[in-house]
Amino acid sequence: MLNNSMKVEFSAITENERFARGVAAAFVVGLDPTVDELSEIKTAISEAVTNAIIHGYEGRGGKILMEGVIYDGCVEFSVSDEGVGISDIRRAREPLYTGKPEDERSGMGFTIMETFMDSLDVESERGGGTRVTMTKKIGRVSP
């Protein structure tokens, strides 16, 4: 079974959302994911990176660290920022809750990550940044 790891750091700007999900998709391609699995991973990564840019750094920029590990047919991604952190993680994870209604956020980010990945873990503290870790088993449905 293929085991692999990667780490990439990039600026917290919206131009890099596409870059981040492209890297994530390229990283898992060796696991032979389905088109749907790839879309789900790309969407979940996009949500995590957008959260870091908009909520973590509040659009002021900074660095985002994305790490990936592949083991036993599973992929684990983490997206970390050193931004303002989340004061109430439970509330932030509620569907349709948004900390920034004025910015047209749909409040669906965490719900999408939870739905599209098998597990989602959020570590955060006020002023201490946020780290989102997600795992997904690839190729569960064999042809």
Partner: protein, 115 residues
């Protein structure tokens, strides 16, 4: 992203590019609101035929246009979705507030209330 004014239907048709993320959504928001203010159009139709990737920012930009035109008695339609985009739209619950159509013509007639 392209925007087309369909005067007969009082509708602004917004056609996003293939990747509808926060970066693209912000451009649509700014461009569409400017045009809506300038033209006084009441309705918006999202042409999703080009969209291959979307995240919750796409849902946000549709919801946002709904809020804008709802205040002036207009409607929002979404048409030409891939199964993946449709899945995200269904998860969000915006099906309850926007018109879902298959083709441009259906979308235009429904937002303008002539069907």
């Amino acid at each position: 992203m392209e925007m087309t004014i369909m005067g007969k239907y009082q509708t602004l048709v917004i056609r996003p590019d293939s990747e509808l993320d926060q970066h693209a959504a912000e451009k649509i928001r700014v461009g569409a609101d400017k045009l809506l203010r300038k033209t006084g159009l009441k309705n918006v139709a999202f042409d999703m035929r080009r969209v291959r990737f979307m995240d919750s920012s796409g849902i946000g930009v549709i919801m946002g246009r709904y809020r804008t035109v709802c205040a002036i008695g207009g409607n929002v339609a979404v048409f030409g979705m891939s199964p993946y985009v449709e899945r995200l739209i269904s998860m969000s619950g915006i099906r309850e507030i926007v018109i879902i159509a298959e083709r441009l013509q259906d979308a235009l007639e429904e937002v303008a209330g002539i069907c």
